[in-house]
Symmetry: C2
Subunit: 300 residues, 2 copies
């Protein structure tokens, strides 16, 4: 069974989104970022070098590890001390990613089930390889004849990240202290004007997890995935200006698009997960079926 060009492009997308696990990634040279003896991220060497200028916050690299100073022994002192360093680095213009400062606090924890050890500005998490969590929603319709279509958003051309690309109908990062369902309902409302009465019917189905690196940092992310069947007569509308348009597309077209450069990569993974769960991809005809499933769920 030969793999199609679509299959190859899709496998390539998954490899790219998991390039931190590939031979030759910065993983071998990254330092573990630890708080109170527990690893919460990965720090690339250039970032670690700069942090040595702040010995009152970050201990010196030792045995492949950078630790927060133990004197910072609880949530608020840690968060505030790191935030002060990040503000300085931001003013110095040391890192491009800090130009995308969001004033959004993300929880830092060894695992999702652990109590947060501190919060960190969202834009800085990749410098520390701190895992970020978010919510993505597959909005779809089912016609009376059973035909499934999916609503896609086209991101605003002025979005800081991935401007102008195709995206799921709604989604967003999980800010410190917010529940997953609350975030889902909020993002549906803000981004696509989906009223809470409809958004609350979204049902949790999966997570999509991946870790990639670029020049500046390590992006370790897990997205909680929800499916939301939208009424046939409902149309998402532009809300907070993060979206420029919405399209309702046949599944074949969505499948084709997810493997193009026109799609935000992690959102394309969420769509791929939908296509697999809803049997639009079959293991006897898709040679990379198992690679697709495992590629959607990588973690360290």
């Amino acid at each position: 069974m030969a793999a199609s060009a679509w299959s190859e492009r899709t496998l390539h997308l998954l490899r790219r989104m998991n390039n931190f696990y590939l031979p030759g990634s910065c993983r071998a040279t990254c330092l573990r970022f630890e708080i109170d003896g527990a690893q919460v991220g990965w720090i690339p060497p250039p970032v670690a070098s700069l942090l040595t200028s702040y010995p009152e916050v970050f201990g010196p690299p030792h045995g492949g590890t950078v630790s927060l100073c133990p004197s910072l022994n609880s949530y608020s002192p840690r968060s505030e001390a790191v935030q002060a360093v990040l503000q300085t680095l931001r003013q110095q213009g040391s890192f491009t990613c800090l130009k995308g400062w969001r004033d959004e606090k993300y929880s830092v924890m060894p695992r999702f089930s652990d109590a947060p050890l501190m919060w960190m500005e969202r834009a800085a998490t990749s410098l520390f390889g701190v895992k970020r969590y978010g919510v993505h929603i597959n909005g779809y319709t089912v016609s009376d004849g059973g035909e499934v279509r999916m609503w896609l958003a086209r991101r605003s051309p002025t979005k800081q990240t991935y401007p102008g690309l195709l995206d799921n109908v709604a989604g967003g990062g999980l800010a410190a202290g917010d529940s997953i369902k609350h975030t889902l309902v909020k993002e549906c409302q803000e981004e696509a004007c989906i009223p809470a009465a409809i958004a609350e019917k979204a049902y949790p189905v999966s997570t999509v997890s991946y870790t990639y690196e670029d020049e500046e940092g390590v992006y370790a992310e897990s997205q909680f995935v929800f499916d939301l069947e939208l009424p046939l007569d409902f149309k998402p509308r532009i809300g907070d200006g993060e979206v420029q348009d919405f399209y309702l597309l046949p599944i074949d077209r969505v499948k084709e698009l997810l493997a193009t450069e026109d799609f935000k990569p992690n959102s394309a993974m969420v769509v791929l997960d939908f296509l697999i769960r809803h049997s639009f991809i079959e293991p006897d005809t898709e040679p990379y079926y198992q690679d697709f499933v495992t590629g959607l769920h990588q973690t360290l």
Copy 2:
């Protein structure tokens, strides 16, 4: 959010089924098993030692690798030469697993999408850490009121593996040359007397992948998972004698059972995947939600 005893037991199940990835596993000492330069498995050191007695089939360990002799340069000669060695080892009683000889040929390939390089007797695959593929079917019903129940099988007390334990309604290994759908229909018919007309309505939804080790070998497996909604008036019946009984149970009861020693472990994983995809487990109330999802999809 504290984890329940059920959550802890379920996480433990996933860790156990992926113990090959844990620190302290034999992974560090295993030799790569290669055919024509491509890795197809992992050979534990005791197995590798025995194989040096067959230098016309297996090259000597070199650089952490045991290779099939290059003179065995195609599918049939490789398969037959290895089979002859395995027959000898079986007669010598060297390995317990060979007492479970099945006369079932499994394909050996670097990845599922690759052409098979040879076949190997099913009972021997764990000695070489050769990946095995199978099909598992979640058989369930939905009442008029929307209540979901699941059919479970109780394995025969005379089954060679996991006798007497709870299992999915049907499932089986993928023999060399068989399609996934063909295997599904055959196993539904043989194990549960589900007629082809019903079994063919099963829809592919996922894979469950894991690698565990025991004293004798490495079990690297991927199961293609199908959901099959059964008619309310249909009852599976004992077919080929591999099952002693079938039960139709409420989902809460199935959830409780999957985290007990009464359930065949990989089948319990298939049920866990069902519970997640069908929203019977929710991320705001299950602290290990993301660990569960990633634990169901581990690969090297």
